[in-house]
């Protein structure tokens, strides 16, 4: 059933705004959802999709705006009220207990806590009738942990329906599914819409949005960038809307690329039996920056772990400074003068409860300057930290104060400082400005450009397109663990990059290779 635009919307989000500190996640967003409508919420990471849905479901309270279901305003910050009004949420990370059966999972939270009796019989009948109505077959007595991810998601949907949901929110439902499972999911969602349920699904995949949704709302930078009927748009337009017309201001001077210092050939990394990186090819050259773009969750984390010396490749070859290496390890990387900026500065980059000087020297604590015979040279460590604080303008701390007290930007400057202090030959920067304010971003960018100017080979892995366009000389996209061929930064316009990020390339076609000058042979420089 196609939504009737004249009917009153079942769900109305009006003028929702939400900020986290200085970061505006939602800025005056208004969306209406009709009965029987399947709406897609499309946007890049950080566009504000998940925040908006969390407000709708009552996990967050909005700074401004209201949520109405059937014209009745929901109280803010009350998931229970949302459930009662008929809103169901299917989380990206399921909120189910693996040690319980399907039926027990579905019933959890529906029964009064003080009741001694469990009404299993009635619950089972209700569950089975819902399952049949929407074609969501599951065994109510199967243990949840034994089910596949696709089946677990079905249980999560059933759970929402069991609570009499009429409006269903799915947060990136296909992120964890195989293509076949995803296809089956959308068949189910269409069937649910046909029977009068209203659905919103969050996605950043153009294909599925085009194929499944009635209507598409594109979010960008916390605002509604556009709204389109599915039949009246195309993938290219959506990609451009999602990425936006970006102002590119490459403040960098052209690269003077030198020798190849690192080269990966058909490199594969499997973690726990799953291929996270598949036969990727890339190379790094002195004085040049390679930018890796991509929507998060496509293998960036593993790539930065690989280059940070935390995981070893399971296939393919690596050459470091012209010599074949089987794996990189932290100690070897530090000794070889390879700087690493980790993806998550709080979890990997620093140990918050330790002093700034301890974080400054931890990765090189075995060097004679900082310890002899196992005894730490505290004064040398503190002097080193003081130098970094001075030279890299780290504010808000002394060498002996706890690192956690630093703001994100200053913590990042500390991490940059300990890496760039002695000009590294290679710098691996993973999401170097994620979550930083504008001033800190500019400072980090200036440092990375400065390192490159001095001849450091930079690998920049970032989800921020502006950042990559501003800093990188060559750009490759990572999609589902594969790397596209590189394009030169000068030839990268937002549309093309958006398409690259949405995976609209195949390793064999010439489309992207045309863009890069063929004289840039990945093998050069090592000979």
């Amino acid at each position: 059933m196609i939504a009737d635009p004249t009917a009153a919307p079942v769900l109305e989000l009006a003028h929702i705004s939400k900020s986290f500190g200085p970061i505006v996640a939602n800025d005056d967003i208004s969306i209406a959802l009709g009965r029987g409508e399947l709406l897609a919420l499309l946007g890049e990471n950080g566009a504000g999709k998940t925040t908006l849905m969390s407000i709708l479901f009552g996990h967050y309270t909005p700074d401004e705006g209201s949520v109405r279901v059937d014209g009745v305003e929901l109280p803010h910050g009350r998931p229970r009220a949302a459930i009662k009004a008929g809103v169901g949420m299917v989380h990206q990370h399921f909120s189910l207990a693996p040690n319980l059966t399907v039926l027990e999972n579905v019933m959890t939270g529906t029964e009064p806590l003080w009741s001694l009796r469990s009404r299993t019989g009635a619950a089972r009948r209700k569950l089975l009738s819902i399952a049949e109505r929407f074609g969501l077959g599951v065994d109510p007595d199967a243990r949840l942990g034994d089910l596949s991810v696709g089946e677990q998601q079905r249980v999560e949907i059933l759970k929402a329906l069991y609570n009499d949901a009429r409006i269903l929110i799915l947060d990136e439902p296909t992120a964890v599914l195989t293509n076949i499972e995803a296809g089956r999911l959308f068949t189910t969602l269409r069937e649910m819409a046909r029977q009068g349920l209203s659905l919103i699904f969050i996605s950043h995949k153009l294909d599925e949005v085009m194929a499944a949704a009635d209507r598409i709302v594109v979010l960008r930078g916390g605002r509604v960038a556009a709204e389109r009927k599915a039949g009246e748009t195309n993938k290219a337009e959506l990609a451009e809307l999602m990425v936006g017309h970006r102002v590119t201001r490459p403040t960098r001077e052209p690269a003077r690329a030198g020798a190849t210092v690192f080269q990966a050939s058909r490199l594969t990394v499997s973690v726990g039996g799953v291929e996270r990186l598949k036969e990727i090819d890339f190379f790094l050259r002195e004085g040049e920056t390679l930018g890796i773009i991509g929507v998060s969750g496509n293998g960036q984390a593993v790539l930065s772990q690989l280059m940070g010396g935390l995981v070893a490749p399971t296939g393919g070859e690596m050459q470091l400074f012209g010599e074949a290496v089987a794996a990189l390890d932290v100690h070897g990387l530090v000794e070889a003068g390879i700087g690493r900026i980790p993806e998550d500065r709080h979890r990997q980059g620093a140990i918050g409860e330790m002093a700034i000087w301890e974080n400054a020297v931890l990765e090189r604590i075995r060097q004679p300057l900082f310890s002899r015979r196992g005894i730490v040279n505290r004064s040398a460590g503190q002097a080193f930290a003081a130098t970094i604080i001075e030279e890299f303008d780290v504010r808000g701390g002394t060498p002996t104060s706890r690192t956690r007290l630093l703001s994100g930007g200053n913590m990042q400057k500390l991490i940059l400082g300990r890496n760039l202090y002695r000009r590294p030959k290679i710098l691996i920067a993973a999401q170097p400005t994620r979550g930083l304010d504008e001033g800190a971003v500019a400072a980090v960018h200036a440092r990375i450009l400065e390192a490159r100017r001095q001849g450091t080979a930079v690998l920049l892995i970032s989800e921020d397109l502006d950042e990559v366009i501003g800093l990188a000389d060559r750009i490759q996209a990572i999609v589902k663990g594969r790397l596209s061929a590189p394009v030169a930064a000068e030839e990268a316009d937002p549309r093309r990059l958006g398409l690259m990020m949405s995976g609209d390339w195949s390793p064999g076609d010439g489309m992207l290779r045309d863009g890069t000058s063929s004289d840039r042979n990945p093998g050069e420089g090592t000979a």
Binding site: V330, Q348, I351, M354, L362, I365, R366, G374, V376, L405
Partner: protein
């Protein structure tokens, strides 16, 4: 009302928190004393005089504090690295039985100055070995060491009980289950004449100083702290996680084993199954009260020993159960946990 992480931890608060925790525990236990029909302040007075009122009482309290310092250090050093060694009791007993076995037979011919250090080492190694089992299980199979190290306590105590009723049984003990005594020259010299106080106290205090220096001044200390505070960050900085944990486990188990060795050589000379009135478990409380600080362990062990020793005097004078002391010590653990929480968070309206 909401909880908020403190940006700064005022030094005063950090120093005051264990004291406030102890005061709060005493106040709470006071309710119990009152309920038992005794005057609260007098009861605590009796505990103090019972623990320090006479020369004998004071030496007895210090004697009792000695193994608590060592087991407290064992817990503190492990907990710092987020290695949850709940097995100090078993490691204590294994260290003790090892000393009894070697000190009564193979090594009994050696002169004291050689024998004593050798037996210390033997006890420590026994404790280490026992702690390496749960660590191995954790590293190899991700088995939670809380469970395994705790359960190994019972295994160790039963093993000791088997040994002292079997191969190591003292034939001269009129059938009592106790081990053969260690050689006379293995008994620790007294610190004070005509008391039970032995040089083990000095060993424990030196151990606390060494652990303090180890944690604050060495690469190992830095790395084990990093591993405990943020394993992911430590690995990123190249800290060898497994190797660091092995060292921590050896130190922790070794200290608990050493506690057992010292208790045998300093106090009784032989092993029975009541050698430890829960020194291993009390060590956890001592470590928590000390906020895992090795030097704080000395004070926390003294407090705990005072409660235990003084409780007898209180019980005799006011005819209320000595269990009040156990309750007070247990309460102090709970209040200390609350105090630690409030040094890290504050309540905001």
């Amino acid at each position: 009302m909401r909880l908020e992480r403190r940006e700064h931890r005022p030094l005063l608060l950090v120093v005051l928190s264990p004291i406030l925790a102890v005061v709060a525990a005493l106040a709470l236990a006071g309710l119990l004393i009152a309920a038992a029909g005794a005057p609260v302040l007098e009861a605590y007075g009796r505990i103090l005089t019972g623990a320090f009122g006479t020369r004998l009482a004071a030496t007895e309290t210090l004697t009792r504090a000695t193994p608590l310092m060592l087991t407290g250090l064992a817990a503190a050093i492990a907990f710092r690295a987020r290695l949850w060694n709940i097995g100090a009791e078993g490691q204590f007993y294994l260290g003790a039985i090892m000393v009894a076995a070697l000190g009564s037979s193979v090594l009994s011919g050696l002169p004291g100055p050689m024998l004593i250090p050798l037996l210390f080492a033997a006890g420590a190694i026994a404790g280490m070995a026992l702690m390496l089992v749960p660590l191995w299980l954790r590293l190899r199979f991700s088995v939670d060491e809380v469970v395994t190290s705790l359960l190994l306590n019972f295994v160790a105590v039963l093993f000791v009980s088997m040994m002292i009723d079997g191969p190591l049984k003292d034939p001269l003990a009129f059938g009592w289950p106790q081990s053969m005594p260690v050689a006379d020259q293995a008994l620790l010299p007294k610190l004070i004449e005509r008391s039970r106080l032995h040089i083990g106290l000095a060993v424990a205090i030196v151990a606390a100083l060494l652990v303090y220096l180890l944690q604050s001044r060495t690469v190992f200390g830095l790395q084990s702290r990093a591993a405990g505070l943020n394993p992911e960050g430590a690995v990123f900085a190249g800290v060898p996680l497994a190797r660091t944990l092995v060292k921590v486990a050896c130190l922790s188990g070794g200290l608990a084993g050493l506690a057992g060795a010292i208790e045998v050589m300093g106090v009784k000379g032989y092993v029975t199954t009541d050698l430890s009135p829960g020194f291993g478990y009390a060590g956890i409380i001592v470590a928590m009260l000390a906020n895992l600080n090795p030097l704080g362990v000395i004070a926390a062990a003294l407090f705990t020993a005072t409660m235990f020793v003084g409780a007898d005097g209180m019980s005799r004078a006011l005819s209320i159960p000595t269990y009040i002391a156990d309750v007070t010590v247990a309460l102090s653990l709970l209040t200390m946990l609350v105090a630690i929480f409030f040094t890290q968070y504050r309540i905001r309206r």
